[in-house]
Symmetry: C2
Subunit: 527 residues, 2 copies
């Protein structure tokens, strides 16, 4: 079923000497297929193809681009069974998760397909001429978004489908009119290969230019570095660790021509729990949070890693309830032995800190690669004094921060770095009395949640998945939802252009029937 | 009239030991006032004040922010005569230019004041809940833009008003809800001081928090470095040279917390002239371009620095006509002896290149600090082979690139780096026959102009002033027009928030009556 080769544009290629395999964490053994790392020549060839394909693809009509995305969906669904099988063998995740994530991936592709049909996403803006203006005539100016160029997408370890090969970054970049080179994640190279085959099939069926998509295998870091340094590459999408994301940001900025990099680098997603709501709802909140903390073995970037409350009997009751709920949940298989190893290392480092007390610790499972979820507790002042306690522990673990009073709780929140999400659990009364707390938390997060859990990232236009550094490298953009297309485009203005030479979206008679800002008013009217 | 002190928030401060003066290039002598450089302590104090002021100001109602901007206008107009006088003494520019630029500055402030009244700029987006969705309920998500935090604005040497103290960067950042620290340009510290006094007066009159605006004097580079490195600063605006802009970009990205920097770094603004239009209009095009090249002594970032044509009798006639027109224009005073010195140095370096021929060279004026405009010519192939010929020469100079044929002309355009503008002069017939040329040029510029001159940057929503690197550090944003506010904001999502705790812009009944994207449809309707 798998061949282990790279897709350099539409062509299979395996000129390299470095071979690697993926790993089945449930069976605790390597999977069968040999994957061949791409060579420098293959990487450069993919970049050249991507640039030339971009020059053609950017001018392809958006109806055709929309159809291309839909055909990718069709091709993915044709090989759904194979994808699910390989996905499970490379992740240890259950079939339901694989199917759910494929559904999400397909939903994202369709959402961008619809966005292209609607056409409003180009942000058309027109200011008409006034030849009689004093002292100088006013020119006709028309502006819309155009694609940046070839985009490199790094597959994410924790989302082999929705944030990898045909995931949000690829779907939004293709919708924007960019070509895409995926640096496949080595942990799920087989899943990436199958998804790539569906994209390449769609490229051929719809007659898109060869090179609009490439899939590069690599088990080390040099190939990613080569891709980001290639002068034909114009933007980068990444989901992963702070260390890797920061390294890519540094690379992108050291280039002769710096390029935008959108790295989503995880977070501890602080959750603030106030006392009044616990009085009514202690056990159900604890049960919900036990599920959220252990969901997907805690391998979500929105996993609640820090829970902050006020020292009180009811908070102690909550901690006890959460501890027993979390120990009731069976451990589950983690994505890879290395991820489990890092989880254990980081967890043990944190709980070895003097001020930290373990309050729940599931004993290691007898099954290899199964995680042992845990909870620890620290006082507010100790948390404030030790910034290391803010580091993300990727896996099913949360640190509970017990504060002496509201003032200390606010100090805890004030010294937190940028986060993807922040959550407040409170009664309406408590919220009204603590508006400044909302304000303090909001300043540090991309999404603020009331009485919910941070896991579960809705895909729509109102989602902001990102946040102040180090949650992401550019808080001004989202990685999830149709607005993520804004990462891959730039506006261009046309001054005094003949109507017939303007793009459809800017022509007088508005042939695409899109909403445009005309002389300061949003309208679909013709000029 | 001038005191030479820093504004650290509302307070005058001059604790430093380093003193400098501004220079009157027309009189060829220093101006009177001693300006005191800010100390490290003063810089840190301004940053602390700016951060605390931001925490208050960001929550100030937008009607009040709008009024604040209008009161700045009022206060500027009250001291218009003083501003114009000091402006002229610090730049050598004529009174008409000073008044025109003040008008532009005032217009920009008013445009942002209006933008705040309208309120649409927050890009409100709402996706309503669906509690019955299968398999999981859909949460209520609402998103809008919020300000980033304290912004550092570097005054521009060539626009003491419109791109300095109360210029586009400051106006857009204050409108966004950010506090502003201006690093005043040392060449026009007096103009900066007067404009600052008007802003501080407006701060006091409208009761805005102390620290929402500071003005820092400095004649060297260290103060700017200290400002960009201050951890409370969250974004930077800059207009100036590529070298300085790139240094600031590197600084901003080396911080523990990298911050967005928006640097507009100039350009050679290529102009392509095709033969047919010259047949009808040779002399008037030449006359217009002579004016554009020498406008403001060529000290505009959109100055046409490279003019590209096809070798032919008519193009030779155009070059002759442009040469004689440009020599008919009297030289004018440049901003500063150092700017003149750099102009002469860079011009002489370029024309000393073997392949470059001088076609017009105004002999040096007897008046000190007056520029001598010039034109030079180079063959297409020589231009392609020497990337140094693409470097901006800041002043009244253009390099004419004479190409053998259309293929060579396209090659010339293809190897040009990112530009603020690109212009095509052509008949409608020529444009229709050369659509690929438009496409090649568009790929490299922020604004593409048909049959006009690149100088003259209209201030409205359809303007894109920026462009691919090295024209700017982030081609996704504009430095001119109301959309420049997008540089200083980030979106934040609210999930399942009680209606009464949401900002006005996101509440069910749409109390601000703004356009919102609700469940995928743009509407002003209530929920």
């Amino acid at each position: 079923m798998l061949h282990g080769k790279n897709y350099i544009g539409n062509s299979l290629s395996s000129k390299g000497k470095v071979i690697f395999k993926t790993f089945n964490p449930k069976l605790n053994q390597n999977n069968e297929c040999d994957f061949t790392e791409a060579t420098v020549d293959e990487v450069n060839k993919a970049a050249n193809l991507a640039y030339n394909a971009f020059l053609e693809y950017k001018n392809v009509d958006s109806e055709k681009k929309s159809n291309f995305l839909n055909i990718i969906v069709e091709q993915l669904l044709l090989i759904e069974d194979d994808i699910v099988k390989v996905y499970c063998s490379e992740t240890g995740l259950p079939e339901g998760r694989a199917k759910g994530e494929l559904g999400r991936t397909v939903g994202q592709l369709r959402a961008f397909s619809d966005l292209l049909k609607k056409g409003d996403w180009v942000n058309a803006s027109i200011d008409t001429a006034d030849l009689h203006r004093i002292p100088l005539p006013k020119p006709d100016l028309r502006k819309m978004s155009i694609p940046l160029g070839p985009v490199v997408v790094f597959g994410a370890s924790n989302f082999p489908l929705a944030y990898s090969t045909a995931g949000g970054d690829t779907a939004s970049a293709l919708a924007a009119g960019c070509s895409v080179i995926v640096k496949s994640h080595p942990m799920h190279a087989g899943t990436g290969e199958l998804v790539s085959s569906a994209i390449i099939e769609a490229v051929k069926i719809t007659g898109m230019p060869d090179g609009i998509f490439s899939n590069i295998n690599s088990s080390g870091i040099q190939t990613g570095i080569d891709l980001v340094n290639n002068h034909l590459v114009k933007a980068v999408g990444f989901t992963g660790s702070l260390n890797a994301g920061r390294s890519l940001l540094n690379l992108a900025n050291k280039r002769d021509e710096p390029i935008p990099i959108f790295a989503e680098m995880g977070s501890v997603n602080p959750v603030i729990i106030l006392p009044e709501i616990l009085q009514n709802d202690c056990d159900s909140i604890a049960a919900n949070y036990a599920k959220s903390i252990t969901l997907g073995s805690g391998q979500f970037c929105t996993n609640p890693g820090v829970i902050i409350g006020l020292k009180s009997d009811i908070f102690t009751q909550f901690v006890n309830s959460l501890s027993s709920s979390i120990l009731d949940i069976s451990p589950s298989c983690m994505l890879h032995p290395n991820i489990l190893k890092n989880f254990e290392k980081n967890k043990n480092k944190l709980i070895s800190s003097n001020s930290v007390k373990v309050v729940a610790d599931f004993k290691s499972s007898t099954k290899p690669n199964y995680s042992s979820q845990a909870l620890a507790l620290v006082g507010g002042l100790d948390f404030i004094n030790n910034r290391d306690l803010q580091e993300e522990i990727f896996g099913p673990f949360s640190l509970i921060v017990e504060c002496e009073d509201m003032q200390q709780l606010k100090s805890v929140v004030k010294q937190m770095s940028g986060q993807l999400t922040g959550t407040i659990l409170a009664s309406n009364n408590e919220m009204s009395l603590n508006k400044d707390l909302i304000d303090i938390l909001k300043e540090r997060v991309g999404r603020i949640i009331f009485n919910g859990v941070p896991t579960g990232v809705e895909v729509n236009a109102s989602m902001l998945h990102g946040g102040p550094y180090p949650a992401s490298t550019d808080s001004r953009f989202t990685a999830v939802g149709v607005k993520s297309i804004d990462r891959w485009v730039r506006p261009v203005s046309y001054q005094d252009f003949p109507n017939e030479l303007l793009p459809d979206s800017l022509q007088d008679n508005n042939p695409k029937n899109i909403l445009r800002l005309v002389d300061g008013i949003y309208t679909k009217n013709k000029i």
